[in-house]
């Protein structure tokens, strides 16, 4: 593209999946004039659904927001309601929740690494094309994901939209024998996950770095999942109840999802890259060793390398799951007792693709008066736009097809939901008539 021309990259809307997205980029004279990532997320509807429902229903209702991350929604909901009611869930039930979350991380990350992201790096249109040339790797991905599914099935009650989580613990604690059946498949999956890290670390990565404000949970002794303080690379260090004091949601006309910003600063990034950069030393042994081998930089600034981090987090989740299973003992009761009463509570947990914030206000009988849910997708939306804004100027001369693909790949770096939507969109690139009258070929 010459400097005198204007180029519009448009990835059309397609209402098909949770986390529907569209992309519009306008460039003029090699500079990015406008980037609009449009997301149509359902959680706003769910906040309305929740009002008037009993707080005990929140985990199962919100689990329906996402087909890939139902456990994340259950975990944030259940922790927020427990915070409102003053309920504390201790071991071994706390570990059981962490085990369930490990299952979802394994499922979700494996889907993203193998089905959504890897084809980008290997030059395939999609995973089906990749499977023809890399059947062994795809089989490996399927086996790892199946191990994650098994955890969700045993601990969560079923593979899809698990139903076993409740305020105070679980409806039923699995027997030690049931949990131990998971061990062998998980150990096999761990070996494959290590191979996965080595495989993706060998990909070629576009030369692009950007250092947004990274925001993640931090726990004193654990790589974060269910709890911890919200911290950032710019010094934020708050409890979940202070989330609304530090972060704001702003409305932008072109998208249904509110943009989240750090008050007084702007966009921030949550998810694997942020989690890893802020908690690297807390990874499990093998995962940390792989990170030291393949990610030499102290702060990973390339969003394209998130595929390596996701793969390392799969290893971590498998190691953590195995650790929990090996020491698992059944709780005397599957849940702790509590009484419903008026209150307000908030929680943040680490969904596979980033921070998931829930806040509830309850009446005396536990009816939800007000609910707020901020999914990682909307938190990352502005940062993804910033990535594109910084990435494209030096690549403006690329052919339209390559440029469009690069935009999609850059989006896929951050969020599986958007990745899915854009991966299957009908792509349209319109070269519009620029101010000098030249029409793009």
């Amino acid at each position: 593209m010459s400097d005198s021309k204007t180029k519009t990259i448009k990835v059309s809307y397609l209402a098909r999946v949770e986390g529907e997205g569209a992309l519009h980029v306008r460039m003029r004279k090699g500079k990015v004039e406008d980037v609009q990532l449009k997301i149509f997320e359902p959680p706003r509807f769910f906040e309305a659904f929740l009002r008037g429902r009993n707080a005990l229903e929140a985990p199962d209702i919100t689990a329906r927001i996402c087909g890939i991350c139902p456990v994340a929604y259950q975990m944030s909901a259940v922790h927020a309601v427990e915070h409102a009611l003053g309920v504390t869930v201790t071991e071994p039930l706390r570990d059981l929740r962490r085990l369930l979350y490990c299952g979802e991380w394994i499922e979700s990350h494996t889907l993203h690494v193998y089905m959504l992201h890897a084809p980008d790096f290997l030059g395939f249109e999609d995973a089906m094309g990749m499977a023809k040339s890399h059947p062994k790797e795809v089989q490996m991905g399927l086996a790892i994901k199946k191990a994650g599914n098994s955890i969700v099935s045993v601990v969560g009650g079923r593979e899809v939209h698990p139903i076993n989580v409740k305020v105070g613990g679980f409806h039923r604690a699995p027997r030690p024998g049931e949990v131990r059946t998971l061990l062998e498949p998980l150990q096999r999956a761990l070996a494959m996950a290590v191979d996965t890290v080595r495989w993706v670390a060998g990909f070629s990565f576009p030369d692009f770095d950007r250092e947004p404000e990274f925001v993640a949970l931090r726990h004193p002794t654990e790589y974060p999942m269910c709890d911890g303080r919200v911290v950032s690379s710019e010094g934020i260090d708050i409890d979940a109840v202070q989330f609304d004091d530090q972060f704001a949601e702003i409305h932008v006309p072109y998208t249904n999802a509110l943009h989240s910003v750090v008050k007084g600063r702007g966009s921030y990034l949550t998810g694997p890259l942020a989690r890893f950069n802020l908690n690297r030393s807390l990874l499990a042994t093998t995962a940390r060793s792989l990170a030291d081998e393949f990610l030499l930089e102290i702060i990973v600034k390339s969003p394209f390398k998130s595929i390596i981090i996701r793969s390392i987090e799969i290893v971590h989740a498998l190691e953590e799951a195995i650790r929990i299973i090996e020491k698992y003992r059944e709780s005397p009761a599957p849940s702790v007792p509590f009484t419903l009463h008026a209150g307000a509570g908030a929680a943040v947990t680490e969904a596979p693709r980033g921070l998931l914030y829930h806040r509830y206000r309850l009446s005396e009988d536990g009816t939800i008066l007000d609910a707020k849910i901020i999914p990682p997708t909307s938190q990352n939306q502005k940062s993804i736009e910033d990535d594109l804004r910084d990435l494209l100027p030096s690549r403006a001369a690329l052919p339209k097809g390559e440029l469009t693909h690069l935009c999609e790949q850059a989006i896929r770096n951050h969020d599986p939901c958007i990745s899915c939507a854009t991966h299957f969109l009908r792509l349209e690139i319109h070269d519009v008539e620029p101010s000098d009258g030249t029409v793009m070929p």
Binding site: R16, V17, E18, G19, P42, F45, F49, R64, G67, I68, L111, M115, D126, A127, M128, A131, K132, P135, V138, Q139, L142, K145, K146, N149, E159, V160, H161, P416, C417, C420, A421, H423, F424
Partner: protein
């Protein structure tokens, strides 16, 4: 197909989402068929799925006969049409099975299973044409009625129409042929 589609070795998979209007059709059909099976009127295995490709591949790998029931979004066809497709005679209509979670659904499961030699011996797909798929909507009364009729005629409705042609416009429709008028 040489044998009756209803045998003890048959696996019926109902695909859908209870919270997306007519997309619940496959799940509702699976539950009704399970009730029939439990009552002894039929004998086959039934399971429900959100339609994720990996789950489907796990479910049907190594199976003999699999019948998948899913909602279809085909603008050109009336709501309630039932189309029978042979899953092994691909390709399936590109955009018809659109509501599976995160776009890795039935079509992708078949493609990937084919590449990785993981398809069942027979794969019959029952597509029920839906019209409204908005989040939070219930299954429409029209589709609920169609599903009920389909289940009441099971498995005769399959025997009459398998195999069929894998183009939505050319597929045989129970409704068109009078079975579900």
């Amino acid at each position: 197909m040489n044998e009756s589609p209803e045998t003890a070795e048959t696996l019926v998979i109902g695909i859908g989402n209870d919270f997306r209007g007519d997309d619940a059709a496959g799940l509702v059909a699976a539950r009704a068929l399970r009730s029939r099976s439990l009552s002894g009127r039929t004998s086959f295995e039934v399971c429900e799925s959100n339609g994720s490709a990996f789950s489907l591949m796990d479910l049907w790998r190594g199976r003999g006969r699999v019948v998948v029931i899913d909602a279809l979004d085909v603008g050109s066809r009336p709501g309630g049409d039932i189309l029978i497709l042979d899953g092994l005679q691909g390709p399936l209509p590109q955009d018809a099975f659109v509501l599976s979670t995160h776009a890795f659904g039935l079509k992708e499961a078949i493609d990937l299973s084919s590449t990785l030699s993981g398809l069942p011996k027979e794969l019959i797909i029952v597509g029920i044409v839906g019209k409204q798929f908005a989040m939070g909507d219930p299954l429409s009364a029209e589709l609920a009625h169609v599903v009920q009729r389909m289940v009441s005629e099971w498995p005769r409705c399959l025997e009459a129409y398998v195999p069929a042609i894998n183009h939505v416009h050319g597929s045989k429709s129970l409704k068109e042929n009078g079975n579900h008028a």
